[in-house]
C-alpha cells in the first residue's frame, strides 16, 4: 500500500512534551508494529515547577492509562475548579473562571442574556454566582464533578501538577511499557541531501539514532523542526508584550485553595498554583518595565508569601513556528508554539498536537496530505487559543499604568475583533471552528473582565420578570444547597485524616 512506510519513529525531547508524546503514541500505535524510540535530552525542570492544566487533561490520563490517585500523589498535585483573576480592574472585585457551565438556558435563550438584563435592572448576583465550580471555589470547598450535579450543570476540573513528579510518572509508565529509551545531549540532526528529510540524530557521546519519522519535543529551542529543518518562527509580540517568565515557589497553603490565582500588577501578572508540597509561583512581565531583580521583589510583595530566593527568569517570545509538521518531522508542545503562560494552556498545546497527530499518523514517508491537514488544524486551534488569551490583556481595567494602557490599545486579530464587537453590541457569542475554550469559558472571562453587552437577546424579554426571577432563585438555591455540604479539598485528596 505504501512505498516507504513509516516503521520507526524517534521522539527527541524532554519533560512533558517528550513523555506525553511517548505515552500517547504508544497507546495509539504501540501494538501496530511501529517502532518507537525516545531520545531524552536533559531536563530543564526544577523543584517547584508547575504544570497547571486545562480540564481536557483528565481524558488523556484515561487514554494513556494513568491511574489518577497515585499519579497525583507522586506529582504533589491538587485539583482546581477554576482560576481567580485578581486586580485586573482597579475598581471591580476579582472574578473566578470556573470550569463549569454558568446558569441554565431558559426558553432556548442562553442564561447570560437574562443575567445581563437583570443586572441592568439592579440584580446584585455576579455571573460567577451561577457557576457551581466558581461558588465552590469561592468558599474553599471541593467536589469531584459529576457526583450530584448531573442535569443541573456540566462541571469539570483541572490539575496543578508538580512538573518533576509528573514527568517522573509519565517516564516510569513509558519505560514500563518497554519503549526504547536513550538519553544524552543532541549533537547533530542529519538530513537526506535530496529530500531534506531528517534521517537521524546524533548525540554528543556519538550514539546515532536513525528513523523514518521524528517528533520534536525539545521545547522552545525546537531542535529538530526549528534548528534542523529551518522552519521559522512567527512572533506574537505585537499581541503579547510580556517577555519574561519568573518561576519560584513558597510554602504550601493550608487549607489548599481549589483554584489558582492570577493577579495583575503594574508590569504583568503573578500566578499562584497550590501544590501539596509547595505553592508554585509564576510571574509574567515585560522587561521594559521591570528588571528581573525588581520582579522578584515585586512578586514577594504582591503574593505576601516568603518566596524561595532561587527564582529562575526565562526570557520568552510568544509565537508559533510557521509550520508544525514539516517533511518527516512534527513538533509537539513548545517546539511548535510558545504561548503566553496566561490561562495555563501549555499542557493543552501538547495534547492538541498529539491528538491530531495520532488521527493523521503518516502511512508513508511522503506525507504531504497529512502535514497540510495537520498544520491547518493546529494552526487554527492555536489562533483560537491566542484570541482567548489576548482578551485578558486587552480587556484590563488598570488605567494610568503604561503597560496596561498599552495592552488596552493592542490591535487584535480580525476574528477576535468581530467576536468582541458582536458580543459587546448584543451579547451573542461567536464560536468558531477549532475552539479550545467553550462558550461558558468565553462568557465567564468576557463578563468577568467587565465587557458587559450593551443589549441582550430580545427573546429574553419574552419571559416574564417573575418567571426569570424564579429561574434565578432556583439556580442560586441549587448551588447553595450543593456547595454547603462540600468539604475542603484535603478530604478528597485524603491528606487530612477524617475525624469522627
Amino acid at each position: 500500500m505504501s512505498d516507504h512506510p513509516v516503521k520507526k519513529v524517534v521522539i527527541v525531547g524532554r519533560d512533558d512534551a517528550l513523555w506525553l508524546s511517548a505515552n500517547v503514541l504508544w497507546r495509539a500505535l504501540g501494538q501496530s508494529g511501529l517502532d518507537i524510540t525516545v531520545v531524552e535530552l536533559p531536563s530543564l525542570l526544577r523543584p517547584g515547577d508547575v504544570y497547571p492544566t486545562l480540564k481536557q487533561q483528565e481524558a488523556y490520563h484515561n487514554l494513556i492509562g494513568i491511574n489518577e490517585g497515585p499519579m497525583m500523589k507522586a506529582s504533589h498535585a491538587t485539583y482546581t475548579l477554576g482560576q481567580r483573576f485578581n486586580n485586573w480592574s482597579k475598581t471591580k472585585p476579582p472574578f473566578i473562571h470556573g470550569y463549569s457551565t454558568y446558569g441554565r438556558p431558559l426558553n432556548r435563550v442562553s442564561f447570560h442574556h437574562y443575567w445581563v438584563k437583570a443586572r441592568a435592572q439592579g440584580l446584585k448576583a455576579e455571573f460567577e454566582d451561577f457557576s457551581l465550580n466558581a461558588v465552590a471555589a469561592k468558599y474553599g470547598r471541593f467536589f469531584l464533578p459529576g457526583e450530584a450535579v448531573d442535569g443541573f450543570a456540566i462541571c469539570d476540573y483541572a490539575y496543578h501538577l508538580e512538573a518533576q513528579g509528573y514527568c517522573h510518572v509519565l517516564k516510569t509508565v513509558a519505560l514500563d511499557r518497554k519503549i526504547k529509551h536513550v538519553s544524552g545531549r543532541l549533537a547533530e540532526v542529519a538530513r537526506d541531501t535530496l529530500s531534506g528529510d531528517i534521517t537521524g540524530v546524533t548525540l554528543t557521546d556519538g550514539q546515532a539514532i536513525e528513523g523514518d519519522f521524528f517528533i520534536d519535543a525539545s521545547g522552545a529551542e525546537s531542535a529538530l523542526l526549528g534548528e534542523g529543518l529551518d522552519v521559522g518562527f512567527d512572533s506574537w509580540r505585537q499581541w503579547f508584550p510580556c517577555d519574561r517568565l519568573m518561576t519560584t515557589y513558597a510554602a504550601p497553603l493550608a487549607p489548599l485553595p481549589p483554584f489558582s490565582q492570577v493577579s495583575a500588577f503594574r508590569s504583568g501578572w503573578v500566578g499562584l498554583y497550590p501544590l501539596r508540597n509547595c505553592t508554585a509561583v509564576q510571574q509574567v512581565y515585560t522587561s521594559h518595565d521591570l528588571t528581573d531583580e525588581a520582579a522578584y521583589e515585586a512578586a514577594g510583595i504582591f503574593t505576601s508569601l516568603k518566596l524561595n530566593p532561587d527564582a529562575v527568569v526565562t526570557p520568552f517570545t510568544a509565537g508559533t513556528r510557521r509550520r508544525f509538521w514539516e517533511k518527516n518531522c512534527v513538533a509537539i508542545g513548545e517546539a511548535a508554539a510558545v504561548l503566553d503562560p496566561i490561562d495555563s494552556v501549555r499542557m493543552h498545546v501538547n495534547l492538541l498536537g498529539l491528538s491530531h497527530l495520532i488521527s493523521l499518523f503518516p502511512i508513508d514517508r511522503d506525507c504531504g496530505i497529512e502535514s497540510t491537514e495537520y498544520n491547518r488544524n493546529v494552526h487554527s486551534s492555536l489562533e483560537r487559543i491566542r484570541d482567548y488569551q489576548l482578551c485578558h490583556y486587552v480587556l484590563n481595567q488598570r488605567f494610568d499604568q503604561p503597560f496596561w494602557d498599552h495592552c488596552r490599545n493592542i490591535e487584535v486579530p480580525d476574528a477576535l475583533r468581530y467576536k468582541l464587537d458582536l458580543f459587546e453590541a448584543r451579547g451573542n457569542l461567536v464560536v468558531y471552528d477549532d475552539e479550545t475554550f467553550e462558550e461558558d469559558d468565553w462568557l465567564s472571562m468576557l463578563l468577568g473582565h467587565g465587557l458587559i453587552p450593551k443589549a441582550y437577546d430580545p427573546l429574553a424579554d419574552q419571559v416574564s420578570d417573575a418567571e426569570a426571577i424564579q429561574h434565578f432563585q432556583k439556580m442560586l438555591g441549587f448551588i447553595k444547597a450543593a456547595v454547603e455540604p462540600m468539604k475542603p479539598m484535603e478530604e478528597t485528596l485524603g491528606i487530612v485524616p477524617i475525624r469522627a
Binding site: 501496530s32 496530505i369 453590541a425
Partner: protein, 515 residues
C-alpha cells in the same frame, strides 16, 4: 423593552413563510413584535411532497407540536436516510443514513477497520454495520434509543411529508395564536428615500402595509431582496447544472420505504418520496442535456404507481443571493438561494435562517453587526451543502453507454471548487474527513457518499493496526450481528406508522400489500 411592537411583515406563504411565521409567533410576545403574513392564492407554492432532515423535529418541538397529530395532518412518514441509486454506475445503490456506519472501536470509526479488513481480503458490506441503513433495507422503523451504548442510539430520523399540508398546518397553528394573515398580491414596494430601506408594501387592494422588518419568503422571485433591493445573485450552475424539475404524485405502490430514493437518470435524477396516501415523484434535470418532453417521458416511465396528475414544471437555478439579509429585508427559503433537493436541504436551510433571525433579532434600528453575523452563519450553511452536493455529481464513473446525454461526463470532468478537491484528495489517501463545528454533513455522511459512489481510500488509519487482525474481525462480526439482531426485532415502517398516527382516510395504506 421598546414601547411599540416591532412590525414584522412576511411576504409569501410557502413552507419557508409559514415556518418563519410560526417561529416568530411562538418566540415573540405580541407587545414585542407584531407578525403579519401576506400571501396570494394566485401565486402557487413550490411544495411538492418533501423530504426533510432530522433538525425539523427540534423546530416542531420548539413550537410544541404533537408529533402523531402533525404526521397525520401532513400525511407524513418516517425517514431514516436516502437511497441513492445508479449514481456511481448503473446498478449501484447506497443509503446515506441519518446515522453512522457502526460504532467506533477505540475511538476510531468502524469504517477504518472495514478498510483494513477489505485490504486483507475480508470484504464485507459496509452497510451491514449500520443500524439505520439495515433498518432501511428491511423497511423497518422505531424511535432511537436514549441509551448511548446501544446500537439503536446511532441514528436520528426525519419526516417525509406533503409540504403544502405542512404549511397549512403551521398556518392553522399560527393563526390560532394570533397571527394576522392578509390575502393579497404586492403591486408595489415602497422604499424610504433617506436610506433605501423598505417602508411598506402596496397590495392590489390598495392597502399599504408598513413594517420595520420585511421577511422575503416570495420564493424564486425574490421580490424584495432580489428584485427590489437588487442584491446580486451568485451563480452556482457551472457546478450544479440542473435547472428544471418536473413533479408528479402517483398512487402508492411498491415498498413503503422509511427513506427517500434518489435515482440518477440520463439528465439529472428523480426523487421518490413515499407519503401515507400517495408517493411524491419528481425529476430534477438540466435543460442543457434534455428536453422537457423527454424528461416527462423518463419521469412517468419510472413511476411505480399510477400518476395522479400531469407533471408540473418548476424552473430554477442553483446559487444564492450574495447577502441574505440586506438593509431591513431578510430572505428566507428560495428567495435567498436554491440548492437542488438532492439531500433534502431546502427546509433545513429555511429553518436555520429563521432560527438565526430569532437569535440575532434586531430592534427598530438595525445594528449592522447582527446583519453581518447572520450572513456569515448562513453562508457557512450554504457553502457546506454546496460542496457535498457537487460531490454526488462529480464522483461518477458512468461510461458513454450509461451517459446518453453527456451530463455525467460533463460533471465528472468539470472543475470543482478547490475546497472539494482537497477534501477528496485527503479522503482518497486515507479516508480522513475534516470535521466542522457548524453546518451540515459530518464525516459519516461523506463516508456514505464516497464509498457508495466507488471512491475508496488507498490506505487506512494506522491506529487500526493497534489491534490484531483476528481481534478486529471478531469485533466487526459482533457489530454486524448486533445490528442484525436489533433490526430483526423492529416493527416495519408501515406497522409502526399505523400504530403511531394512522389516518383512517388514507385508504391506500390498507391496500398496500405490506401493511
Amino acid at each position: 423593552m421598546q414601547k411599540d411592537p416591532i412590525r414584522i411583515v412576511i411576504l409569501g406563504g410557502g413552507t419557508a413563510g409559514w415556518m418563519t411565521a410560526a417561529g416568530f409567533i411562538k418566540g415573540f410576545k405580541p407587545e414585542f413584535a407584531s407578525v403579519r403574513l401576506i400571501e396570494s392564492d394566485e401565486i402557487g407554492t413550490v411544495g411538492v411532497g418533501e423530504a426533510t432532515l432530522p433538525q425539523l423535529k427540534s423546530f416542531n418541538d420548539f413550537l410544541g407540536l404533537n408529533e402523531p397529530e402533525f404526521m397525520r395532518d401532513t400525511n407524513a412518514t418516517f425517514k431514516l436516510g436516502i437511497d441513492f441509486r445508479n449514481w456511481g454506475r448503473e446498478g449501484d445503490s447506497y443509503i446515506h443514513p441519518f446515522g453512522i456506519h457502526g460504532q467506533a472501536i477505540n475511538g476510531v470509526p468502524l469504517f477504518q477497520y472495514w478498510l483494513k479488513a477489505r485490504a486483507n481480503g475480508h470484504d464485507s458490506d459496509l452497510e451491514s454495520y449500520s443500524f439505520p441503513i439495515m433498518a432501511c433495507r428491511n423497511l423497518k422503523f422505531d424511535f432511537p434509543s436514549e441509551d448511548d451504548r446501544s446500537v439503536r442510539s446511532t441514528f436520528a430520523y426525519a419526516y417525509q411529508f406533503d409540504a403544502v399540508l405542512y404549511a397549512r398546518y403551521l398556518r392553522r397553528w399560527a393563526e390560532s395564536k394570533g397571527l394576522q394573515r392578509t390575502e393579497g398580491k404586492v403591486v408595489e414596494v415602497n422604499l424610504r428615500p433617506e436610506d433605501g430601506f423598505i417602508r411598506s408594501l402596496t397590495l392590489a387592494s390598495g392597502e399599504v402595509v408598513e413594517g420595520d422588518l420585511f421577511i422575503d419568503c416570495s420564493g424564486f422571485r425574490s421580490l424584495l431582496l432580489g428584485q427590489t433591493l437588487k442584491v446580486p445573485w451568485e451563480d452556482w450552475t457551472p457546478w450544479l447544472p440542473c435547472d428544471r424539475a418536473l413533479a408528479v404524485p402517483c398512487d402508492r405502490a411498491g415498498d413503503f420505504t422509511p427513506y427517500t430514493r434518489a435515482t440518477a437518470r440520463e439528465a439529472g435524477w428523480t426523487w421518490r418520496i413515499p407519503l401515507q396516501h400517495r408517493t411524491g415523484n419528481g425529476y430534477v434535470f438540466s435543460s442543457r442535456f434534455t428536453t422537457e418532453d423527454r424528461a416527462a417521458e423518463v419521469l412517468l416511465a419510472g413511476l411505480d404507481g399510477k400518476a395522479q396528475a400531469e407533471p408540473r414544471l418548476i424552473k430554477f437555478a442553483a446559487g444564492r443571493r450574495k447577502q441574505s439579509w440586506y438593509k431591513n429585508c431578510i430572505a428566507i427559503g428560495l428567495a435567498s438561494g436554491f440548492l437542488e433537493p438532492l439531500e433534502s436541504t431546502s427546509i433545513y436551510l429555511a429553518q436555520m435562517a429563521s432560527d438565526f433571525v430569532m437569535r440575532l433579532f434586531p430592534g427598530k434600528d438595525i445594528d449592522p453587526k447582527l446583519v453581518a453575523e447572520f450572513n456569515r452563519t448562513i453562508d457557512i450553511e450554504y457553502d457546506r451543502v454546496r460542496d457535498f452536493l457537487i460531490l454526488h455529481y462529480h464522483a461518477n464513473q458512468k461510461p458513454a453507454e450509461e451517459d446518453p446525454t453527456g451530463l455525467w461526463r460533463y460533471v465528472r470532468e468539470m472543475t470543482v471548487p478547490d475546497t472539494l478537491i482537497e477534501k477528496m484528495e485527503t479522503f482518497k489517501h486515507r479516508g480522513h474527513i475534516h470535521r466542522y463545528r457548524d453546518g451540515l454533513f459530518a464525516p459519516p455522511s461523506w463516508i456514505a457518499v464516497y464509498t457508495g459512489q466507488n471512491i475508496l481510500p488507498r490506505n487506512y488509519d494506522r491506529q487500526v493496526d493497534n489491534m490484531s487482525t483476528e481481534a478486529m474481525l471478531e469485533k466487526m462480526r459482533e457489530m454486524q450481528e448486533r445490528v442484525a439482531v436489533n433490526v430483526e426485532v423492529l416493527p416495519t415502517h408501515a406497522d409502526f406508522l399505523r400504530d403511531y398516527c394512522f389516518d383512517p382516510s388514507a385508504k391506500m395504506m390498507q391496500e398496500a400489500g405490506n401493511v
